[in-house]
């Protein structure tokens, strides 16, 4: 462990020197650089402030002003500040989630950055998520895998194995229910957690391309293939696999069920590992596997939401902003900010190294080698905002009242015809 740490520090120092070399060759940056961040949770906030401090050290003449806005607040405030009082750099999310601002001409086209070899070669895997209308509108700075997090100790107690297909998945669930526990914890109060379930069930049932066509409004919600996804979902619901009253809980409030051993699985993003560890679960108790195959022959695809940096179109100091974007995606910075002490997620730069953490390693391997179907962002980032809202409400209702499915799908179909036009 110690030697790895030393090695990564050495690598970091080396890379920092090369970066220092390249930027020294360009002209020195000056003026003001206003950065708006939505990284309001303690660890991400400290990470970002450290990144900015390192950037400042390289550009001492630059006057950097950082504003951190609460993550949920940010989602509504971005509309106001992009039009009225734009910063030079702002955080946001990839894929369709950036479309309203791209369409309104509020994000700067940064395709020039993506033509630079440094970025073009090393960030190729996320290029698609940053592209709208053939241009790139920002750079990613982190992403993370989704998957089935589970209580390894309970699996061992019940003599279960990680499920590789749908039948095993259901059989595991039956065994867990028979032992008096619930199969899955989930809190759907804020809806998006149900969107994660839909993502996986639909991608496993009908494949990535179908899923993306559905998100793009090309397929009817009353299509039989969509109904098949819900039929699969219903098998788990009818079994009583999900915790009761999930519609009352946030995702954090659903964590204790897993910690106390009342529920065994959590389909979640990797950010759930930190609070589970904080609550006292050790790596011997907690493990992770890829969501199992449902329809044999459908290529596996994954959710890997990407968080991004953008330059508002009305920014004052775009030159410094571009330099900051280059800095954030550089291999060394990516290694540093995504390591276990900071964000604890996956670096977007192919040249950076993944921190030595079992979940990050497994997740990285899964996304890079075992996701041939494609990588989705997340339901509420791939589908347009309005459709995401209506549909996730429908998913929540379906999970609580599966008998209403026909009415829910009819409602979603009406919404589709209005939203996509």
């Amino acid at each position: 462990m110690r030697s790895i740490l030393k090695a990564s520090i050495a690598a970091f120092g080396l890379a920092a020197m090369t970066i220092g070399g390249t930027s020294a060759s360009g002209q020195a940056l000056s003026g003001d650089l206003k950065i708006f961040l939505d990284t309001s949770n303690p660890a991400p906030r400290a990470t970002m402030e450290a990144v900015i401090a390192r950037f400042q050290a390289e550009h001492p003449d630059l006057n950097i002003e950082t504003t951190v806005i609460d993550r949920e607040e940010y989602k509504t405030q971005i509309r106001n500040f992009l039009t009225a009082n734009p910063p030079d750099v702002a955080t946001w999310y990839a894929a369709n989630r950036m479309r309203p601002y791209v369409d309104a001409g509020l994000f700067e086209d940064v395709s020039d950055l993506w033509n630079e070899p440094e970025i073009a070669e090393n960030l190729a895997s996320t290029k698609g998520a940053m592209t709208i209308d053939g241009k790139q509108w920002g750079v990613p700075y982190t992403y993370y895998q989704w998957g089935v997090y589970y209580r390894k100790d309970i699996y061992e107690e019940l003599g279960l194995n990680e499920a590789a297909n749908w039948d095993e998945f259901k059989a595991n669930c039956e065994a867990i229910l028979a032992s008096g526990r619930k199969c899955f914890t989930i809190g759907t109060k804020f809806l998006w957690t149900a969107g994660g379930w839909f993502d996986y069930l639909n991608m496993r049932t009908n494949g990535f391309d179908f899923h993306m066509q559905l998100a793009g409004g090309e397929i009817s919600w009353e299509d039989d293939r969509v109904k098949q996804t819900f039929a699969n979902w219903r098998e788990l619901i009818d079994m009583g696999g999900f915790i009761d009253n999930h519609q009352t809980y946030s995702w954090q409030e659903a964590l204790p069920f897993m910690v106390n051993g009342d529920a065994v699985h959590y389909l979640m993003g990797n950010f759930s590992v930190a609070p589970l560890r904080d609550a006292g679960l050790t790596d011997d108790q907690l493990d992770f596997y890829q969501f199992p195959v449902i329809t044999p022959g459908v290529a596996l695809s994954e959710d890997a939401p990407t968080d991004t940096f953008h330059i508002p179109a009305n920014a004052a100091n775009k030159e410094a902003a571009r330099e900051f974007l280059r800095f954030v995606v550089s291999a060394a910075e990516q290694t540093e900010i995504n390591n276990g002490n900071n964000l604890g997620q996956l670096p977007v730069n192919a040249m950076s190294s993944v921190d030595d953490d079992k979940f990050l390693n497994e997740g990285f391997a899964m996304l890079s080698t075992n996701s041939p179907g494609g990588v989705a962002q997340f339901w509420d980032r791939d589908a347009p905002a309005e459709m995401a809202k209506v549909s996730m409400e429908g998913f929540q209702e379906f999970m609580a009242k599966p008998d209403n499915l026909d009415r829910i799908l009819a409602k979603l179909e009406r919404a589709r015809q209005r939203i996509y036009k």
């Binding site: 949920e72 989602k75 509504t76 509309r79 992009l82 039009t83 309203p100 601002y101 369409d103 309104a104 001409g105 509020l106 759907t188 109060k189 804020f190 809806l191 009761d244 009253n245 999930h246 519609q247 009352t248 509420d380 905002a385 309005e386 995401a388 809202k389 409400e393 429908g394 929540q396 209702e397 609580a400 409602k411 009406r414 209005r418």
Partner: protein
């Protein structure tokens, strides 16, 4: 010297300029002007702006597209289909009726507390306490109270052998659960209004009523309540306004859920136009217009009754 300055003063008073001749008539308008300007700018003009925006399809960022009454047509279809708009409207009506319970409840508590025993001021303050704490705190306290696994409510009904109920997770109970939370501070507010009203009750009339043999309910109904009419009117106004503004509790306790069944119009408007996924400014404005029309009925009634009162007083 002094004579000439006197003449100057007279010249000013009877002076030639229009302003000086009409000073008395103009002055009140000048004093009113700042208030009137702000009222026009911040209250009246946004009403007309909302009407205007509701005729457009607009995401709040790009170009607005004129679509006529399309938004209202969509609302109509949502109503017919018993979709979100219907649910919100229905909940608004439930709120309006049930929230009025705060008035009799406040009156009962006020009558109960309107006595002279040792420490009554402390009791009064304790009953008034819920109105002092923020709505956010009220919402959180009730959310925990209703919690299906750890909440006090389920512990209590468990003692009498009733099964656990998930008040905020069940679309049949959720609105009533939130209204109950809202009634807690609102009752305290009505109570304080009635307590001050009760101080103004004429003891001689009470005495006269007692001589005529009125007591108990008769006394309350025929002697006390008529004298509390001004307090009742104010309590009615603030309760109606409170019911129509029932946004904060819903936002804190359920976010409009589960599956949108606790929404009211104000929250639906916010969700559609301004929330994380909301980009339909025109549609939100159309909901706001509907909400405004509902409020207009009450505003008209209030203005009319106040006007009647004024005329009666003259």
């Amino acid at each position: 010297m002094s004579e000439s300055s006197l003449q100057d003063v007279r010249a000013v008073n009877g002076g030639g300029s229009w302003f000086h001749r009409n000073q008395i008539a103009i002055t009140p308008w000048l004093f009113l002007a700042p208030g009137v300007l702000f009222f026009i700018f911040y209250v009246i003009s946004p009403i007309f702006q909302s009407f205007n925006v509701s005729l457009y399809e607009w995401d709040g960022l790009g170009e607005a597209e004129y679509i006529g009454l399309q938004n209202y047509q969509d609302l109509y279809w949502e109503f017919v289909d018993r979709d979100a708009f219907f649910v919100s409207l229905k909940n608004n009506v439930i709120w309006l009726f049930l929230y009025l319970l705060a008035i009799p409840a406040g009156l009962m508590i006020a009558l109960f507390l309107n006595q002279n025993v040792w420490g009554i001021r402390l009791y009064k303050s304790l009953f008034f306490f819920p109105f002092v704490i923020s709505q956010v705190v009220v919402g959180l306290v009730f959310t925990w109270f209703y919690d299906p696994t750890f909440g006090l409510l389920n512990t209590i009904i468990g003692w009498v052998g009733l099964g656990p109920i998930n008040v905020l997770g069940d679309e049949r109970f959720v609105t009533y659960g939130i209204i109950a939370a809202g009634l807690w501070p609102q009752t305290a507010y009505c109570m304080i209004l009635y307590l001050t009203g009760l101080n103004a009750v004429d003891p001689e009339q009470v005495e006269a009523g007692r001589l005529d043999g009125a007591r108990g309910w008769k006394m309350l109904w025929h002697v006390i309540i008529p004298q509390l009419k001004p307090a009742t009117f104010i309590a009615f106004v603030v309760t109606i306004i409170g019911a129509l503004r029932s946004f904060d509790l819903i936002s804190i306790m359920t976010q409009g859920g589960p599956f949108g069944s606790s929404r009211v119009l104000a929250f639906y408007m916010f969700e559609v136009a301004l929330s994380e996924y909301g980009f339909r400014m025109g549609y939100g404005a159309a909901i706001a217009v509907v909400l405004f029309l509902i409020m207009l009925c009450f505003i008209a009634y209030f203005l009319w009754s106040m006007w009647k009162e004024e005329r009666g007083a003259r």
